[in-house]
Symmetry: C2
Subunit: 329 residues, 2 copies
């Protein structure tokens, strides 16, 4: 039995979206305990299968990271405290990313030995037919070389737990594949990664090669990772738009679309960041899964499935055990 805390508020679509997702999840996993946090009057009907916890405030999407310090009655902050008090396995939220990251870091605290938590996400690895793990994609704005080197180990544990990749190949994001290329901090991280016996580091990778299959884990600083992630998003959206324009060009292309639809839907599913199931903050004492702010019930439910997978993989315990083994200075 898993135990999840759900922040019902804070997404673009509000609690009705989260409620629909929770209902679906409950149908698929009736044995799991669900604690729903937010304006309980909006999802009273869930009382029949879940525990409801009231929180009167909602942190809005545009809220800054430090907002959480003074918004103690917000669903997001109450959800984090509930995770600790109820010894739950995970918190899932579709609220403001900045606020979510700082709430998790401030309330759940870092796992001992972890220098800096990292936001991690997975993308389809077309070359290998599984997933490539990317981190940090935006928890930090700047990182030290030591932090980037640590991301490699956390990312490797994630790749094992979330995707079942036994010996993940780690690469460092860079503007060139040769050693010696990279940002100043990337160049500093390179020898640290090379010297780390816990990871299978195999050099630099360019952003254009991420989907091609030579790496299972790609590490970078949070600013660069965020730019990469959003560049992927931007191009995927642009190509989607162009595809739509292409298919609606004339009667023939419309017919073509109808015939090819099953193939096209496969593309959409593969690159659908919603379906991939959100991002996770790695390195704090608890599974914290962030669904997209504009999630629909399907996307939010898929973030819950990610939480289930990572719970079963004992992700937090593995990171804690891994970092406990590393000698602390």
């Amino acid at each position: 039995m898993r135990k999840f805390v759900i922040d019902m508020m804070g997404s673009d679509a509000g609690s009705a979206m989260a409620l629909a997702a929770v209902k679906t999840y409950h149908k698929l996993h009736p044995e799991d305990a669900l604690i729903l946090v937010g304006k309980t009057e909006e999802f009273q009907e869930a009382a029949s299968f879940a525990t409801l916890v009231h929180a009167s405030d909602v942190i809005e999407m545009e809220a800054g990271a430090l907002e959480v310090i003074r918004r103690k009655e917000s669903s997001m902050v109450v959800a984090m405290h509930t995770l600790l008090e109820q010894h739950a396995d995970a918190v899932i939220s579709a609220g403001s990313t900045g606020a979510f990251l700082s709430a998790a870091t401030l309330i759940l605290k870092r796992i001992p030995g972890v220098l800096r938590p990292a936001l991690v996400t997975g993308f389809p690895n077309l070359g290998r037919g599984n997933f490539v793990t990317l981190l940090d994609v935006g928890a930090s704005n700047t990182n030290t070389a030591e932090e980037i080197a640590q991301f490699a180990y956390m990312g490797s544990l994630y790749s094992q737990g979330a995707y079942g990749i036994e010996k993940p190949i780690v690469k460092l994001l860079s503007n060139g594949s040769e050693e010696g290329k990279g940002s100043p901090v990337g160049k500093e991280a390179y020898p640290l990664l090379k010297a780390d016996p816990k990871v299978d580091f195999q050099g630099n990778i360019e952003a254009s090669q991420i989907f091609a299959g030579s790496a299972d884990v790609v590490v970078t600083d949070g600013y660069t990772g965020n730019i990469m992630l959003k560049s992927f998003e931007g191009m995927a959206k642009a190509m989607g738009k162009l595809m739509k324009q292409g298919f609606t060009k004339n009667f023939k292309t419309k017919m073509g679309y109808l015939l090819a639809k099953s193939g096209i839907d496969t593309i959409k599913d593969t690159m659908n960041t919603k379906k991939v199931g959100g991002a996770m903050l790695l390195g704090v004492n608890g599974l914290v899964v962030k669904a997209h702010g504009n999630s629909d019930p399907e996307a939010f439910e898929s973030a819950m499935e990610v939480a289930a997978k990572l719970t079963d993989a004992k992700m937090i315990e593995k990171i804690a055990a891994g970092f406990a083994k590393v000698e602390q200075k």
Copy 2:
């Protein structure tokens, strides 16, 4: 009449590719003077319509930026010197980007007042139906705030000259659209951009919004810009691969592809970085256009067309005049 110097060597495909491109260009623009540099024995047949200049050495694709200093007999270095000596309008090359950038900077020198040249490229702006200018996409590895602020002015002049956008809207690439978000150097550049009366600066933009139409020019440091550019490339390639898989899924989808082909080809044309015509190094005393290393004749010819457009727009003269007006400290 325009006068172009062509580095015939250094692309993945060698001089035969460049020769095919030059022939096409000559047919379309018989009045233009073409000076072809490289192993002349490989393109002797072009002597009937072009001037051939011999260069015995070829800088290979993997060559480092500083290689150019000692490779004086290389086609790339000879091409740069030829531009100066023959008062030509532009150099076009498909050789190593690093070598090309340093050869251009070392031999042609910066335009007075320009702190740092920038590699600039254009992408389709789906929101506005024209092109968005991105810089620096990789001439530098790090930039100062002052350099980034200058890119805005150079980029605006480029946007006017290359795309005919009269009053280009400039935005700063960032990990959030709000003021106060960004990399350390980006945050420093923000007030400089805001204070510059020569550009129409309208705040931050996220990489996911580049194609959506709110900016005509997007500035960033060279490392981040390069990551963004290659992320676009990677996602475009991945989606192309998925599309192919989708269309070849079964008989029905294959039929669909045949019917929709004209629409699909439009997508390919729009996002085809080859067709967009390479990148340009802005800020040196000469038009230097870099075609993709894996250019085919069509792509290389299109880079020559870009050079023609920028020659007609008097791009170099405009940058020189613009920076001459700016008071030098």
